[in-house]
């Protein structure tokens, strides 16, 4: 479903060229749950961003469900994120002026894929029923991340991408959130790629890939 071939990416920083990715190869099949680990600066997040089309690679190929991501323009990549991908960030990135219910629904609304039954199931499974009218600033970190996961899965994406989703949460909350995520991923049958620096959390997924100095170790 996801195939990454020879992916390279170089950043320019303070006049120096820093090769972040130096030919990464990676495959994820449908329903597969993969943890991406590596030390700080190893290129984990960059790889995730490139797959999500948030940034453009310098070389190599990313193919998601037969679509070559590199060939897409901004609008095409936006469509890809909207319809095929779910994104979860460390900072939750909820919209502060929308309440929980609207934060859960807005991406599926914009995508034109809103499904009331699925929406209700997500609310129930994520335990958000009592919080629907609250605003993000009135939620704890774990609650906010649950909303973010719900939003990412509301469109029933092909692939859920998560960048250190539990990085801002304490251990117990992190475990709880990740457990919920695994359940939901299983329920939707989508692929799951999670960037994490936690070996413990990585171990709870099907497969682990370690990125070191811009290459899969």
């Amino acid at each position: 479903m996801l195939s990454v071939r020879n992916l390279t990416k170089t950043y320019r920083s303070a006049g120096e060229q820093v090769a972040v990715l130096r030919g990464v190869n990676l495959d994820i099949s449908a329903g597969e749950r993969v943890a991406l680990t590596g030390e700080s600066g190893s290129g984990k997040s960059t790889l995730l961003h490139l797959i999500a089309g948030l940034d453009a690679a310098d070389g190599g190929e990313i193919t998601l469900a037969d679509i070559a991501v590199a060939d897409l323009g901004d609008a095409g990549r936006a469509e890809l994120r909207r319809d095929r991908l779910g994104l979860v960030f460390q900072q939750f990135n909820l919209i502060p002026s929308l309440n929980v219910e609207d934060n859960l629904a807005f991406q599926s609304r914009i995508a034109g894929r809103h499904d009331a039954v699925w929406h209700a199931e997500l609310v129930e499974r994520l335990g958000l029923a009592a919080l629907l009218q609250r605003y993000p600033e009135q939620l704890s970190g774990g609650q906010q991340q649950r909303v973010a996961i719900g939003r990412a899965l509301a469109t029933k994406p092909l692939l859920l991408l998560a960048d250190e989703p539990t990085g801002n949460l304490d251990e117990a909350t992190a475990d709880e959130v990740l457990a919920l995520t695994r359940d939901l991923v299983a329920r939707t049958g989508c692929g799951f790629l999670m960037v994490t620096h936690s070996e413990r959390l990585a171990a709870t997924l099907d497969r682990r890939i370690h990125l070191h100095a811009g290459l899969i170790a």
Partner: protein, 820 residues
């Protein structure tokens, strides 16, 4: 489409959570639109009435033939020209007085009147017969009926006793104009077989050369897009427009800061939307749609406010225009659909202009947060240098315009350039002052105080620029108005030299009154006065006759004169001319002019120039006896009296009783002065009102900027709180900081304002009105304005500071928790 609507809904949710911000944005847009469109409505109202006046049987809108020196010419020329193929239609123009009011009497010839001459009057069935058949009909605007307090069909009499044709209301007529058939006009004006001009219609075939028919007796005057009234009143409207524009710009400052704040706060939202699959193009489009929608809503509200502003200012504007230029503006505001459309357009364009920077930033917003360090100070330095360079260039432009410009427009351009350059210069000057302060500071908190003020500058500079502009204009206009009123009062004292003014209803009554007065011992002198209207070098002028009496030579103020001017006036071959006329026609002492008079041109030598403030027409003053010889027809109904002051009340009441003279016919000097001053102060009422509006808008701009800043400043203040400075102390420091930059700005505004005043007095007024006032500085007024400015700044600064003082410690702690 529904996708766009959902995105819009997400964007709009921000405003629901931040209603104050929305209110600020709307207030900015509404005040910008309201003031601008209010002024436009006033201008349009006035212009449409000038159009009515101009279109009345070919004012300047039609090509025409006029006599040499604007003298009337014989009717035979009209017939000869028609016979030679010229499609011309005659007009005879004169002035008559009804009940003490002067009217323009136009005689037209309806049968040849070209259809393209503009709005010809509509005459009903068999209208032509009643219009041309003596006594004919007198077409007037409805306002004239009201002015004369007569019903339609009534036949008024002129002040000299001639019975006029019955009045008939004609909708497109200009107020102050009476239209009759040319034959009837010739009779009423006692100008048999005479014509004032010939309107030229569409050519209907070959025509002979003008010279071949009329020799050099007629001149061809090409149509002029502007009417005389428009030219005269241009300055007034330019003045209004300048204020409208200033308010508009200041309003846009508010919009700019509100949108800037909203953008900063919505930056994460925009990123999230992009990450969730909204393309950059879609997002930008929806942002523009959102802005346009808000601008339209604010535009409609602004237009409604603009309507009310215009409606409330209209009486003053109408009074000013009537007092200054004799232009008649109906008191009822009528608005065309174009006005609404233009108002909405200006609101949308203004909003887009004010939001341009934010929209551009949004369009370039990367989805991922760039990890570049914020070199705000370097960026600010570069920006300040660039801005100062632009300011210097604009200053240079102002200097250039001042040196070479010779028009009213260039006068205003000088003003605009001066203000713009000063505004652009302001941040650099403030930066300079603050860094000097920082260098001189010793204690750490003081150093932080200055440094932080400098950092705040970029956020506040727009609001401070608005404050600077508003203040400078206030100082400038205030100084000009005050200079004017001082000068005017002094001038009036000399000008109104007689003790009692009498205006009899006709010559017979005047004779009776004079006879009666001669028998009264308390009357020291009877000073006859007379006034004739004439056309001089293409414009109407007044010829004023003053008797040879010490009252005038002792009191009447002359700006320039050759020796013995009053004595030299006696023989009737010299004249004094008004300053306006002298400036307009570039006439000076010793120049010779020829004034058209009924019996032929009257050669005069100029021996003096006098101020004649507030008179739209040029004026020539001659000896009264000479005037009555040259203009035998003028009514002798007005005269002044010299009376020992204690005797005045008794004399007035005796005259009222004896001759039934009303307030309009009989007044003492004090009443006349009061009346003149009242009329004159109304002239500047509009300016003052707009001035206040502008200052108010600048205050709002300051408030919104400070509100914007106070939110983004928490991260800077939180560490200070953490190291043990109390919230009260922090709030006090913030207040002092805001007030000190406002004070520096206000102090800078004072010299700038005086410069503006000088420009208004020495450049704009001279071009606009034709007179130059002495320049005075009024320190008390400046202090007062300074106080008002500081009070406005205090009010604006107080709200955010109070917010800070009452802030929950948790909010400050949160600053540390949030790493955004």
């Amino acid at each position: 489409m529904s996708r766009a609507l959902w995105i819009l809904a997400v964007l709009l949710s921000h405003w629901r959570r931040h209603p104050m911000q929305l209110a600020t944005l709307l207030i900015g847009l509404i005040s910008a639109t309201a003031l601008w469109s209010g002024v436009q409505a006033l201008n349009a109202q006035a212009r449409s009435s000038y159009d009515r006046a101009a279109a009345t049987f070919g004012g300047a809108r039609t090509a025409m033939l006029v006599g040499r020196d604007d003298a009337a010419f014989p009717q035979a020329l009209f017939v000869e020209l028609r016979r030679a193929g010229w499609n011309v239609s005659p007009v005879l123009e004169g002035r008559i007085q009804i009940g003490g009011r002067a009217f323009r009497l136009l005689g037209i010839e309806p049968v040849t009147l070209p259809g393209e001459v503009g709005d010809a009057p509509t005459v009903g069935r068999s209208g032509l017969q009643s219009f041309v058949t003596p006594p004919g009909e007198m077409l007037v605007a409805r306002e004239v009926l009201t002015d004369l307090n007569l019903p339609e069909g009534a036949r008024p009499s002129t002040s000299s006793g001639t019975l006029l044709p019955p009045l008939r209301v004609q909708s497109q007529m200009a107020p102050g104009v009476l239209v009759v058939d040319i034959g009837i006009a010739q009779q009423l004006l006692n100008m048999p077989d005479q014509m004032s001009r010939l309107l030229i219609g569409k050519t209907k075939g070959p025509r002979a050369a003008l010279e071949a028919v009329a020799g050099d007796r007629l001149l061809l005057v090409e149509p002029d897009a502007e009417s005389d009234l428009e030219r005269l009143t241009d300055s007034f409207h330019l003045n209004l427009t300048a204020f409208g524009l200033l308010s508009f710009v200041v309003g846009l400052f508010i919009v700019n800061s509100a949108i800037g704040l909203a953008f900063e706060q919505r930056r994460p939202m925009l990123r999230t939307l992009r990450a969730c699959g909204v393309s950059a193009r879609m997002l930008n489009a929806v942002l523009v749609i959102e802005l346009v929608a808000l601008a339209l809503i604010a535009g409609v509200m602004g237009l409604v406010c603009g309507y009310f502003i215009a409606a409330s200012l209209l009486p003053d504007v109408a009074a000013s225009l009537r007092g200054l230029y004799g232009a008649q503006i109906p008191g009822q505001l009528t608005l065309r659909s174009e006005w609404w459309i233009a108002g909405l357009a200006i609101s949308v364009l203004g909003a887009l202009a004010a939001a341009a920077a934010s929209l551009l930033k949004a369009a370039r917003l990367p989805v991922l947060v760039a990890a570049q360090p914020q070199a705000w100070q370097q960026a600010q330095q570069r920006w300040l240098i660039l801005q100062s360079a632009v300011a210097l260039a604009v200053f240079a432009t102002a200097g250039f315009l001042l040196w070479y410009g010779d028009s009213l427009l260039s006068g205003f351009a000088v003003l605009a350039a001066l203000l713009l350059a000063a505004a652009l210069m302001l941040p650099a000057i403030l930066e300079r002052v603050l860094s000097l302060g920082q260098r001189s500071a010793r204690r750490p908190l003081a150093v932080w105080f200055w440094a932080d003020s400098r950092q705040q500058l970029s956020g506040l500079s727009l609001a401070l620029m608005a404050l600077l502009l508003a203040l400078a204009v206030n100082v400038g206009v205030g100084t000009m108005v005050e200079s004017f009123s001082r000068t005017f009062v002094g001038w009036l004292d000399g000008r109104l030299a007689a003790d009692v003014y009498v205006s009899a209803k006709d010559d017979a009554q005047a004779t009776a009154i004079r006879a009666w007065l001669r028998a009264r011992p308390e009357v020291e002198a009877i000073l006859p006065g007379g006034r004739a209207d004439a056309q001089f070098r293409g414009a109407p002028i007044e010829v004023l006759g003053l008797p040879d009496h010490a009252t005038y030579s002792e009191h009447w103020p002359l700006l320039e004169s050759s020796g013995n001017a009053w004595v030299r006036l006696r023989p009737g071959d010299t004249a004094l001319i008004s300053e306006q006329l002298a400036r307009r026609l570039k006439l000076g002492l010793g120049d010779r002019i020829e004034v058209p008079a009924p019996g032929g041109n009257w050669p005069l030598e100029i021996v003096g120039i006098y101020a004649d403030y507030g008179n739209p027409k040029g004026q020539i003053t001659v000896n009264y006896a000479a005037l009555t010889r040259r203009f035998p027809g003028i009514p002798a109904t007005r005269f002044g009296l010299r009376v020992a002051p204690p005797e005045i009340p008794a004399l007035l009441s005796a005259m009222r009783e004896k001759f039934g003279l009303g307030d309009r016919s009989l007044a003492d000097q004090a009443t006349m002065k009061a009346e003149s001053k009242r009329i004159f102060s109304r002239t500047f009422a509009v300016t003052a009102a707009l001035n206040t509006f502008t200052l108010g808008v600048a205050g709002i701009a300051l408030l919104t900027s400070l509100l914007t800043l106070s939110n983004s400043r928490l991260p800077q203040l939180a560490p200070l709180w953490a190291i043990g400075i109390t919230r009260r102390r922090l709030a006090a420091i913030e207040l002092v900081k805001t007030m000190s930059v406002a004070l520096i700005t206000a102090l800078l505004a004072l010299p700038l304002g005086l410069l503006v005043a000088w420009c208004l007095i020495a450049v704009v007024n001279v071009k606009a009105f034709g007179w130059r006032l002495p320049f005075h500085v009024f320190p008390l007024q400046l202090l007062e304005l300074l106080g008002v400015a500081m009070a406005a700044s205090l009010l604006a600064a107080l709200l955010p500071v109070l917010k800070l003082a009452r802030m929950q410690p948790a909010s400050l702690i949160k600053i540390f928790a949030d790493e955004r």
